[in-house]
Amino acid sequence: MLLDVAKRDALAARIANLSIPTGGGWLGAARAEALARLLAMGLPGKRDEYWRYTDPSSLTTAVPPKTPLFATDNELMPFSGLDRLKLVFIDGVFDAVQSDDLALAGVEIERLGIAGRSDIHWAQSLYGVLEARGQMPVERPLSALNSAFATDGVLVRVKGNAERPISLIYHSNSENSDAILHHCVSVEEGAEITILENGPAGARFNKVIEVDLAKGARFHHISAQGRNHQCRAVTHIFARLAEGALFKSFTLTANSLLTRNEAVIELLGDDAMAHVAGAALGDRNFHHDDTVFVTHAGQRCESRQVFKNVLKNGAVGVFQGKILVKNGAQKTDGYQISQSLLLDGDSQFFAKPELEIYADDVKCSHGSTSGAIDETALFYLRSRGVPTQMAQGLLVLAFLAEAISEIDDNSISDLIRAQLEGWLV
């Protein structure tokens, strides 16, 4: 279908400042294909059903809105005590000085820009491939834009059990950086890895991670998106799971003007398991959107979506979750819960938890609730001498607990919990 003139012009303006790096190689071809997808789709608009509750316009302007810098000592550093391989990106560019060597037993790590120059590479079958699959049935143009224009990122191939987590650390030193990063992670049969992410990556950040899990592979992802009140981010994680694979992703969003996190997960093999969870704490000018699409194609697979929002002073939370069970995906167990705690009368919560089911022997359910803090519980704590603010903090922590408990590694979930406790209680 041809785009109308307005959409075509908006897209032309958006990509005018971007350039596809030259140098050919396999990556050049993948970028060209992604650009073709983007040109066919156009950018998302306010009237698109998939952007019903989040206005994408500040994500699609030619240049990012000017963003005041944020003091780093205020930044969220949840993983600082952890033994990990650090890879640092500043405004979307890899910083070799601050990063550790790209060496980890059982894992191959390469920078996208360098690996992309060769003629043949394992990432050829992954880069832009899952993103392209994820364009059906719903278009995600900002992820195609990422595949076409991302200049940096890492390609990670996991062959055994990674001895330490890979920690991707993002910094922003610019008021108008337009960071675009694209990572690929391939976990081979029976292998396991944990990927950590934290920090604001730029004034505006567009990130894609593509994850391919072979038979029995295990992937853990924990992302803490920073406390910068002014930045904007749109992220996509695309995952494909073979038989018996495990995918776990947890996102903590403490603050930012606008965040849209999309997870697109396909359970292709039998007996695979995917859990996506998130906790968002919003204050004032905060718009947070979790959009999740899980497709069950294999049999006996399990998926869970657990999202919790705590909102105050006019903050907005959005959850759009979908479970698609394909014909033949018998014995599917799908679960979806989205809950919001509105701490005052100005905050808002929008949810669209969808089920689309074409197999009969399945167990799928979703629940969604929204409301104020439980006055009875608050009263109880107060009557035991707990000051109001602390009591409220404790109840908020309890509310978020279900999402945080989705993190398998206790040492990491404890760090997240401790961080939250520090803010709330």
């Binding site: 014909n327 018998q330 905050s347 808002q348 969808e354 089920l355 979703h366 629940g367």
Partner: protein, 507 residues
């Protein structure tokens, strides 16, 4: 059926064994698929301003009504058919249908039911809706025991109302119950005030089409403080081929009044699809209550998906007054395509909206149905219970909206939507939208999807039931919460419909 059914039914409003047997006797394939051979008067095929003028003239309408229709038509001509529903059907050719069909004998309006063409009366008698002022609806003998239950009927045949019973008795209570064409002539002030005030002309493609070409339908006005002395009902019958039915229903419940309204519909078996686009508007003033129950049993098409009604309906209740209450109950078993979202605008403080629905899709049927609860007033409450059943190759979608506006403080919503799948070729989908804009309101939404429970089936089978009976019983249990919300006459009919609609879905 079995003892289990009897036991379960006996607890309900005194439905006895005889009633159950009558219902059992009804069982069979689509039993309303026959046709009445009667001479008809058609408007020329297709849709244009001239056709709109002709429909208006046939109803002897005043100029303002014609102007209203024409403005709707002009708007409609600019609109696009919506495509967001999970429904797939070939493009409808709006020029290849008749928009008006009336039995020739109705050319001169009969003054009373005695003057109505016996063929028409026989048609309704055969449908179990005798147009006589008798105590009860036929086919529900058990109802006699419930005391002096009267039901007034407005019978609509293709584009015209054939007759309305009990009008005089209702008039004594001040209740107006007549066809919409009658009220346009006799109480234009009420029509001007309320028509289109809940579902505006511009509302959506099908409502706009209806506003242009609506033929008959029922009008109800319940005056202040009156509890309608009997249940009111409208029975819609599509008979003519290639003819759309576009009825319009408007119910106004004045302060402190109450009415229970029932709606039923059937159509003959045909190989071609027929269009039905209705609009129902309910207006509730302070403390008023309306109970609106529908058993939708339009011809669903055959096992291969040939024929059947395309059912596009806009139903909305406006709870304008404080403490008003509306309850939509629907049993959707018919139609090839169902597109229907009975909604509640909870404008008055402390108003309440309820939606109970059973939607069954078998063979090649497709249903996309649900509700909207729009909370505008303080302390408003809503409750949604939706049961979707898919069998054969059918697709069944629940689509709903719950919206809490900033001013709708201390409001509550509870939503439960359950889907049941019978067989591995059908689909069940849930598309809820939840919008919360204040924190003193509480919204809860739960949905589940499952298959017919094997243990329950096994239990029924071990008691000697065949598989089809067992499935019907389990499904009836699954729907119980909704069946219980129906008035008794409908509950019995609905229960048997559930069984009939699922015929052939097993094995």
């Amino acid at each position: 059926m079995t003892e289990l059914v009897l036991e379960e039914s006996e607890v309900r409003d005194g439905v006895d064994r005889e009633t159950i047997e009558t219902v059992q006797a009804m069982a069979g394939k689509y039993k309303y698929g026959w046709e009445t051979d009667i001479e008809m008067d058609y408007a020329p095929k297709g849709l244009s301003e001239d056709i709109v003028r002709l429909i208006s003239a046939k109803n002897s309408e005043p100029e303002w009504m014609l102007d209203w229709r024409l403005s709707a038509y002009r708007r409609w001509a600019q609109m696009k058919e919506p495509e967001w529903a999970m429904l797939h059907y070939p493009k409808i050719d709006y020029q290849n249908q008749y928009y008006y069909a009336s039995p020739k004998s109705m050319a001169v309006k009969p003054k009373s039911l005695d003057e109505v063409d016996p063929k028409l009366l026989a048609t309704y008698a055969k449908l179990g809706i005798p147009l006589k002022e008798q105590l009860i609806l036929a086919g529900v003998e058990g109802a006699e025991e419930a005391g002096e239950r009267k039901v007034a009927v407005d019978a609509v045949f293709d584009s015209v109302s054939v007759g309305t019973t009990f009008q005089k008795e209702l008039a004594k209570a001040g209740v107006i119950f007549c066809s919409i064409s009658e009220v346009v002539r006799e109480h234009p002030e009420l029509v001007k005030k309320y028509l289109g005030s809940v579902v505006p002309q511009s509302d959506n493609y099908f409502a706009t089409l209806n506003s242009a070409v609506f033929s008959d339908g029922s009008f109800v006005y319940i005056p202040e403080g009156v509890r309608c002395p009997m249940e009111l009902s409208t029975y819609f019958r599509i008979n003519a081929e290639n003819t759309g039915q576009f009825e319009r229903t408007l119910i106004v419940a004045d302060k402190g009044s109450y009415v229970s309204y029932l709606e039923g519909c059937t159509a003959p078996k045909r190989d071609t699809n027929q269009l039905h686009a209705a609009v129902v508007e309910l207006v509730l003033l302070d403390d008023a209550e309306i109970k609106y129950s529908t058993v939708q049993n339009w011809y669903p098409g055959d096992e291969n998906g040939v024929g059947g009604i395309y059912n596009f309906v806009t139903k909305r209740a406006d709870c304008r007054g404080p403490r008003s209450k509306v309850m939509w109950t629907q049993v959707e078993t018919g139609s090839a395509i169902t597109w229907k979202y009975p909604s509640c605008i909870l404008r008055g403080d402390d108003s309440q909206g309820e939606f109970y629905s059973i939607a069954i899709a078998n063979n090649a049927q497709q249903a996309d149905t649900g509700t909207k609860m729009v909370h505008l007033g303080k302390n408003t409450k809503s409750r949604i219970v939706s049961k979707g059943i898919s069998a054969g190759r059918a697709q069944n979608t629940y689509r709903g909206l719950v919206s809490m506006h900033p001013k709708a403080t201390n409001s509550r919503n509870y939503t439960q939507c359950d889907s049941l799948l019978i067989g591995d070729k059908c689909g069940a989908h849930t598309v809820p939208y939840i919008e919360v804009k204040n924190n003193s309101s509480r919204v809860e939404h739960e949905a589940t999807t499952s298959k017919v429970d094997e243990d329950q089936l096994f239990y029924c089978r071990s008691r000697g039931m065949d598989e089809e009976e067992a499935v019907a019983l389990v499904v009836n249990g699954f729907c119980k919460e909704v069946l219980q919300a129906l008035p008794m006459e409908f509950a019995v009919e609905a229960q048997s419909l559930v069984a009939i609609s699922l015929e052939g879905s097993v094995g």
